[in-house]
Amino acid sequence: MIDWAGAFLSVLGAVSSSDKGIDPKYLAIKPRILSDDNILKGVAALRAVLTFIPPAALASPILGLGTTAFQIWKRIALMKEWDEVAYPPTDPNVMRLFVDLDPVLHAHFGDLTAPNNWDDRAISELEVVYHDFSFLTNADILKAKYPDIDPNYIETCVGKNKDLMQQNINAIEQVLVQAKQNPKVDAKLREALECLKDLFPAMKDWAFLSSDTFNEVLDMIDTVI
C-alpha cells in the first residue's frame, strides 16, 4: 500500500520556503517556493516517491539534473566572467548634491543644478565637471580646462585624487609582484592597466611616485597601449 498522502506532504514540506536567515523587514524580494535550495530538497524528496510515479509524468528536467549534476551545472554557469563596465555610472542626484554642497563648484556651476535648469542637458554638462574633479590628478590640465576656478581649490582636489591614486598604485604594485609568477594573472593585469590608462588621462602624472616597481608598471602600460 502506497502512502500517497505522506508522499504528497513530504514533497510539499521539502519545497516550502524556509531558513531565510534574515529579518523579514529586509526582504525586498521574497524567495519563491521553488528556490534552488528547495529544488534540491525537492529532488531528494521526489526520489523517495519516484518508484511509485511514472517518471515521464514528473518534472523530469528537475529530476534529470540530479542533486550533484545540478550543483555542477550551476557552478559552471555562474563561473562565467561578468562583462564589467569600466566606468561605473554616477547618479545624477549625487552629482547635483556634490556640486551644491561645494561652495566653489556651486559658484561656477550652480546654474546647472537649479531646479528650473535641471534636465538631461544639465546632467550631461555636470557629469563632465564631476568626473574631472573626481578623477584627474594633473593640476595643469584642470587649470587649463577651468581657468575661472581658484587654483588653490584645484590643487586641493588634485591632492585628494592623488592620495587615492597612491592607494591604487600600491595595490597595482602588489599585484605586479604576484603577476611575475603567474602568466595568467599577468594577462589580467595588462587588461586592468588598459582600463586604468583610459580612465586616468593624467596617468603620466603618477611619475611623481617613482619606484622600480612603478616604473615597471609604466613600461607595461606603454607595451599594452
Binding site: F8, L34, V49, D83, V94, E127, L164, Q167, L199
Partner: protein, 201 residues
Amino acid sequence: MKILRIAVVALLLACKAAFTPTPLLISQLVDQKDQVSQLYMACTTGANYTPDKPGCDSKQLQDKVVSTMSLSKEFISADIKQPHGYVVYLSTAMIYFRIAQRAENDYSEAEMIARQFFEIQKATSTQPSGDARFYWVVMASGHASYQWYNDRLALNADRKADLLLCYAEGNLALVSFPSGPDKVLLVQDLNILKAITDSIK
C-alpha cells in the same frame, strides 16, 4: 488514490511552469547583462554618458536595462542567498539611474534590494562582501540625494540612523575595496552620505 496521484503530478508540473528554476534563468541573465554592458559602452565617452555618440542606441539600452533588472529580480527570488542576481540587478540599476527616469519608487526599491543583499550576506557569512557594502552605499546615497531635492522631510531621524549604519559599513568596505573607478565612486558617495547625515538634526 488515482486522483491523489494525478494531483501530485499536476502540482509539480504547475510549480515548474509557474516558477522556472534558477538554472534555466542564469544563461539568459548573463546574456542580458553582457548586452547591457555592450550597449552602455557604446554610449559612453570616457567616464561620461554620451547618448549622441554615433552607434549609441539609447532607447534599446533603456529597454534592455529595464528587462535585465526585471529578470534579475526573478533570479534573486529563485535563491535569495546567491549574490549574482543582486550584483546584476544593482550594477544595472546604476546605469538605469543615469540614463532613465529617476523616481522615488525606483530608488526605494533599489536601496531595499541593496540592503537585502547586505543583510543576506551578513546572516549567511562571517563578513558581508565589499560588493554588498559598495552597492548599499551607492544606492543609499543616490536615494538620499534624490530625497534631498524632492522629499526633504523623508530625511528624518530614522533615516539618519539607517544612513549612518550604511556609512559605517561603507567605510569598512573602503579598507579592502579593490582599486579602480568603483573605489573613487565609493569615496565620493561616502562623502555625500556624510554630508546628508550631518545635515539631519
